[in-house]
Point group: C2
Chain length 142, copies 2
Amino acid sequence: MSYSVEENFLISRSIKPTPNRVLVVRELLRATHPISLGDLEELLGYTMDKASIFRVLELLSEKEVTHVIEDGSRSLKYELCHSEGHHDASDQHPHFYCERCGTVYCLDDVTIPAIPLPAGYQVKSTNFMFKGICPKCSEGIS
Amino acid sequence: MSYSVEENFLISRSIKPTPNRVLVVRELLRATHPISLGDLEELLGYTMDKASIFRVLELLSEKEVTHVIEDGSRSLKYELCHSEGHHDASDQHPHFYCERCGTVYCLDDVTIPAIPLPAGYQVKSTNFMFKGICPKCSEGIS
DNA sequence: GTTTATGCAAATTCTTTGCAATACT
DNA sequence: AGTATTGCAAAGAATTTGCATAAAC
């Protein structure tokens, strides 16, 4: 008996793969953009209660498996970290929020140079957001 | 008859200085950190309705006189732009959100190097946030 | 049998709007 | 008079919690 991709994903991060967690992780793995709790409800066909989705996302964030993205819309968006298990420099790619279509793009290829802060600030995480119009909306395609 | 600092501030930005606007701007000018609508209510001794505060903040944001800061707390925070009238590079200083005391620091002295994005992204504004523990909380002073 | 996970309902919190009353020009 | 501003009340929207049931171990 073998595990599914989602189960492996969870087990490798020391999280018990319950049915709801598997479903949520499946959507997060599929997603090409950060998605909100409401997006997940919709993607799952409103078969899972939002409190349950909330608790899965809460757990994934606690375990540092997801990033939480604030993009200026009212709702938080989530995406899986690229690194395994912990936030690190490779996760600190910036995001781009399209003010027209609302999509959040992960600018994976954009590296943020090291930015020295004044003494005393202990940085745990970063959130770099660009806002404007995305390529698709610029072209009028989307 | 001369104008107050707050009135001058508003007039120079083509905003009519009503009593509420003057009071809100006074607090924003005094503030050393970005503050929320709730903070303003408290600072004003709950003499101004939150809907009124909201509309002043809305107007100031429309006129690009304030920045809106998302720091991971549930509430938006506001600060006056440093430049006059328009967002520009000098406003793009990063912020630091202290996860312990909730304070948002403006890292004015920290300059973000120019970060080239892939073709097609039209950047209108940026929001760079560091999160962690601030110097005061690190020392156990605050 | 105890712990963990889930769904339902509702509470919380923050933001935003409708509308009547007031103030300004 | 007519427009703009304000306060009060309530609506909206998203997040979070309490609790009872169901599942897992």
